[in-house]
Amino acid sequence: MKKILLSLCMGVVLFTSCNSDDDEPQIIDVPVSEGAYVIGSGNMSASINGNLTYYDYTSFTATQNAFEKANGQSLGLTANDAIRYGSKFYIVVDNEHTVFVTDANTLRVIRAINTTELLGEADGAHPRCITAYENNIYVSTYGGYVAAIDTVNFNLTKKYKAGSYPEGIIVSNGYLFVANSDYGNGNASISQINLTSGQDSPIVNTNIRNPQQLALAGNDLYYLDYGQYGPAPTYAQEHAGVYCISGTAVNLVIPDATGWGCGGTKIFTYNSPYGSNQTTYSVYDLSNHSLSNFNPEGIDSPAAIAVDPVSGDVFIASYHLTTSDWGTWADYYSPGYVNVYDNSVSTKKDNFDCGVGPTRIVFNISTSKVEY
């Protein structure tokens, strides 16, 4: 039924477009952002399960443990990534080797996909990141693979071999890009896999050390790289930042970054390096290649950052701090919080509590028909 409605609407859009010269009202698809999902990894070493917080834009209230409340069951250990696609919301849980498929609005579980069953134990272990493209979701695993899974019957559409310890993935123009972190051991690469043939032509470069996240802007591929740690006793962080692959050139565009959020033409980053409580924040504007710093009010220790693609609002999740004579550090065992800012991060609009270990913020985007 939904499908028919959709094509009907599309017909209307086409029809009205043809008569755009007329004064008759036009109906177009407009993305609408209804809320934000905050995925918390929990903390495996303290036996704390992963969690989901939903922040509703109509009431501006947050529901903590939203997954547990909707399903009477827990996400399990180490929730790592999520995506809203179609009418569904998908959650990747690393240590359960599971991708939960839920209804985007009720959050009721429709299916739990075990990646170890889907791909085999070695290849499917530890699912990490998720993206979606043409009625498939794509899930990377530490086993070194990416699974394309049909969003209707949840069968495996295709299994792609990637590099070592894949993290972030992105699909565009018939190509699957995979950030192969190599678990920070130095043999990193970014896979460039032809979706039809499964052929990988990986990008290897001295500037690709420990890539974690990917974003595409036109033909430019941006990636967040954790870099590496220097020798003892300082273990100083080296080469972490955002890099851009443009043609064969790989350039550092935002030095010193350990987390990012992309939206519109901007990449927002934070840097909380080892051995320092000095967190810095940078924003890079792709439209004019400008890099500037910003200072979000009320963030103790950033854990995730994201930009609502509709409103442009910037969400920053943070840990609370533990303070002592020995200094101050992030409390990885207690629930964190999220601050909401405008696009320039100059005004704090709202603030809500989330769960332990916030790790990813995803927006509840649907399309709405607007007549004008």
Partner: protein, 665 residues
């Protein structure tokens, strides 16, 4: 598996038959003599628990049988103040902490010499089975046994495992064969041979093998749901062998020695998951050591003991679910140890001991970040004991030096420290065994190699973690000759840990160890035992222990964990045993339990672990035909099929059984 059991059965029966054939003509009276001696020794030890200046708990072999103790974990649960961390099943790692000190503060000695793990600082007690154990004892603080190596007094609490000694009288060979089978694919044959070749030289050999599938079913609560599954990747295959000798060239000289080897190849089932049951981790432990103890007495009140030991330990960890072996690691540890102790007792009131220990530890691994750390340790102690009529006083100072270095890197800070202890007991009445006791002990632990050196975790500039403990107690014991005999001990204590080593994060991936923690424990514990002998064949014994432990985290005022009970430390711990000895089948009903605990210091919502009470039923009977004794024993563990966890996400087995057949002559 079935085939394996059958083969083992055949082997066992065969060995029994051979043994029977060999020893038809053997003297029965000596056997009786041993029995009596054993009982006397155990009894006098038991009496020591009330006169001891510091809390002392002893479980002898006979008592373990009588009270239905099935394994090491079970025995440890019966001792008050002990908090056992158990990852479940036969293959699960088991470590003990005492009275709110961490497991790294619990010393474990095996036949008089301390065991060590310089890497983690914790001894996995699942390695030691009870089959060859004569008694285990726990001393909290320093008690009146003073003729010991300095290192044996270097921990707040020491658990001593004493294996079965060699016989002292006849020269015939003695053989013990035993087969244990149980639920979840458990089978364990045991063989012990001992003989006095002359009245000067005795020898024993022990071999033991354990195989277990550990594939027990469990259920785990998931918010409103209950998930049912069974443990997988949980198999273990372990063996242990020992050769022992005692040589008494003359009545004043004694040399004893041991060669020991242990091998455990096990799968690790890991934390249970709600939605998958996938685990591939394995751990292979190998431990070999040799030790010698020489003892001599002179007529002028001087005695001398010398100890020597060389220990080698390898562990091999694999996790194939992480491709490229990024989690895999091999570790090798070595220790060379020697100790000399001189005891001088000029008269019946005074005794003085000077002990000096030296040991060398090193560690290397397959990790690229390994710096090959090593440590020289020199420990010296001077102890004085005074005993006059109803008073026992013990005072000790221990001077410790730990000198650290690393072959391929910077060494950790050296440390030198003086640690005093003082304790006394006083018999209140002349005609009653009522004692009051009080003790104080200050001691510390040096950081482990992990805490000092582990990449992105260790800090070389750590201070030692120091502890103070105060104990006062009352003990009361009736005479043994009475029809109804009993014993009660009640102790109250205050413990304090300073400069506790805690890992704090700089970010999610890099943690550093710092001396930031403080812990304060207030506790009380009580034990009681009541035996009523109806006649020479029937006796009823009731035993109970209870411990209340308030262990507060006092680190970081203002933080979310300040003032809260430490993780995995129950407030209430208890055990109870009822045993009935009779001519038909001896029966023991026993149980142990703890109140709820938290899985983390922060008491994060939904991480509280429920308390439990685990009940066991045990029945045994021995048959004696001349010199031959056959003993059959049947145990039902977790009688009421309670599903509980000691460590979160590591469910313990439900109801299970174990059958033991033992034959000896």
């Amino acid at each position: 598996m079935k085939k394996r059991i059958t083969t083992l059965w055949i082997c066992c029966v065969m060995s029994m038959l051979c043994a029977l054939a060999q020893t038809q003509r053997r003297d029965t009276t000596t056997q009786q003599n041993y029995k009596i001696q054993e009982v006397v020794i155990t009894e006098s030890k038991k009496a020591r628990t009330v006169s001891s200046t510091a809390p002392l708990h002893i479980l002898g072999r006979q008592e373990m049988l009588k009270t239905g103790i099935t394994d090491m974990a079970d025995a440890l649960h019966r001792m008050p103040g002990i908090n056992l961390r158990d990852y479940g099943g036969a293959g699960g790692v088991k470590t003990v902490s005492v009275r709110g000190f961490g497991a790294k503060h619990t010393g474990v000695s095996y036949d008089g010499i301390m065991l060590s793990d310089s890497q983690s600082g914790e001894i996995d007690l699942s390695r030691y089975s009870l089959d060859n154990v004569d008694n285990i004892s726990l001393v909290v603080g320093d008690n009146d046994e003073i003729f010991i190596p300095a290192r044996n007094a270097s921990t707040p609490a020491t658990l001593s495992i004493q294996t079965i000694g060699v016989p002292t009288a006849d020269t015939a060979p003695h053989l013990t064969t035993q087969l244990k089978i149980g639920s979840f694919g458990y089978i364990s044959p045991f063989l012990r041979y001992e003989q006095n070749f002359s009245n000067k030289f005795a020898f024993s050999a022990v071999g033991e093998y354990t195989y277990a599938e550990n594939d027990y079913p469990y259920s785990i609560k998931n918010i409103t749901m209950t998930m049912h599954d069974h443990r997988t990747n949980s198999r273990m295959s372990s063996g242990h062998g020992e050769l022992n000798f005692v040589w008494n060239p003359n009545p004043t000289n004694r040399l004893s020695g041991k060669v020991y080897y242990y091998d455990n190849d096990r799968q690790l089932p890991g934390q249970v998951h709600y939605y998958v049951n996938v685990s591939k981790e394995t751990l292979h432990d190998q431990n070999a050591f040799g030790q010698l103890i020489y003892q001599t007495f002179w007529t002028n009140g001087l005695s001398f003991k010398w100890y020597g030991k060389y220990n080698w330990y390898a562990s091999r960890y694999r996790d194939p679910l992480y491709t490229g072996g990024v989690m895999d690691a091999d570790y090798w540890q070595r220790e060379a140890y020697t100790s000399a102790a001189l005891l001088y007792s000029p008269n019946e009131h005074w005794a003085f001991d000077y002990s000096a220990d030296y040991f060398y530890n090193n560690l290397n691994s397959s990790l690229a970040t390994d710096t090959r750390p090593f440590r020289h340790s020199i420990l010296q102690s001077v102890t004085a004991k005074y005993r006059h009529q109803r008073l026992n006083i013990l005072a000790r100072v221990l001077y410790s030096s730990y000198l650290n270095d690393a072959k391929d890197g910077d060494g950790a800070d050296d440390m030198r420290k003086l640690s005093p202890s003082l304790s006394f007991s006083y018999k209140l009445l002349d005609n009653q065994n009522i004692y009051v006791r009080a003790s104080y002990k200050n001691i510390f632990r040096a950081p482990t190699f992990n805490e000092n050196y582990y990449f992105h975790y260790g800090s070389p500039d750590l201070k030692p973690e120091s502890t103070d403990q105060y104990n006062i107690g009352v003990t009361w014991r009736s005479g043994d000759e009475q029809k109804t005999s009993w014993q009660i001990t009640v102790d109250g204590y205050y413990n304090h840990v300073k400069d506790k080593i805690v890992a704090i994060p700089y970010n999610m991936f890099i943690w550093r160890c710092v001396n930031v923690g403080k812990v304060r424990t207030l506790g009380t514990e009580a034990t009681a035992q009541l035996t009523h002998r109806f006649n020479e064949h029937h006796a009823l014994t009731w035993m109970g222990s209870y411990s209340l432990q308030d262990t507060e985290n006092r680190a970081l005022p203002g933080s979310s964990s300040y003032g809260l009970q430490l993780a995995y430390t129950p407030k209430h711990t208890g055990s109870m045993t009822l045993s009935y000895e009779n001519p038909w089948v001896n029966i023991s009903l026993n149980g142990q339990g703890v109140s709820s605990r938290w899985a983390n210091n922060e008491h994060y919502e939904s991480t509280e672990i429920d308390g439990y009470w685990d009940t066991n039923l045990s029945a045994y009977r021995s048959f004696t035909f001349g010199k031959h004794t056959i003993e059959g024993r049947f145990d039902i563990k977790n009688l009421f099929d309670q599903q509980y966890e000691i460590v979160r996400f590591y469910p313990m087995p439900g109801r299970s059984w174990q059958l033991t057949i033992n034959y000896k002559f």
